[in-house]
Symmetry: C2
Subunit: 138 residues, 2 copies
């Protein structure tokens, strides 16, 4: 029977396993998982504070503090928008980009190692599922 408790349990367990890996990699780089996600976003974007809040599903006030701390570490910088004086864009510094790259490949390596023994067809299922699931959970 699909969608039964065992499936839900498996999904939750899988999720915590991934999170544990992310938490550890973050800690090794003296970052939180949220900072890690932030750097992931900034690899290829220069979003506004509001866009970051939406992407991370955080209150805007939380993002202020998050960027404060990242900025204090030199990972990120605030840039005033030229078209709208209210908005602040957040850009990764060169150092921030370097950390993002390093952490990104680290995540890739560690998770691929975890998946090494899995069947290829099961991995394809993961991709299909991730694509199919609603972006925003119910």
């Amino acid at each position: 029977m699909p969608g039964t408790p065992s499936t839900v349990d498996a999904l939750v367990q899988l999720s915590f396993t991934v999170q544990l890996t992310l938490t550890r990699i973050a800690a090794e780089n003296d970052l939180s998982v949220t900072q890690l996600r932030l750097l992931g976003i900034l690899r290829d974007r220069t979003p506004s504070m509001a866009a970051i809040a939406e992407h991370l599903d955080l209150d805007r006030s939380s993002v202020s503090g998050l960027i404060d701390r990242a900025e204090r570490r030199g990972l990120v910088e605030r840039v005033r928008s030229e078209t709208d004086a209210r908005v602040i864009l957040v850009r990764a510094t060169p150092e921030g980009l370097a950390v993002a790259e390093s952490v990104g490949t680290d995540v890739g390596t560690r998770l691929e190692r975890m998946l090494a023994s899995a069947r290829p067809t099961d991995l394809a299922a993961i991709v299909r599922l991730a694509d199919a699931l609603p972006q925003f959970p119910v």
Copy 2:
């Protein structure tokens, strides 16, 4: 090609989707995800502080605070072990058990709803993967 970036990305995205659901359910019940996990453990166990720390991959000092707060809310109680006066067992109160049940079914319902449109064979793949992956990530 299995184990490529797209697979890793899918896995990470899947993980965050699940976590977001858990975070929301926890918040609706005025709990953190950690408290939610704690209650999950206590549904069918009465573990020592050390066992909880190991299960949640937390420092023991973190567990002290966690149980303090849960106890203050009446969800949990500390019981001295009769066989070893150093160890403290943690037991869910009736209220804690009730919350655990309610939250547990809520998680089940919401995640099953998310999985409703997925192919049964993909769900089977999730179960296989969760079983196959190392309990402790590399």
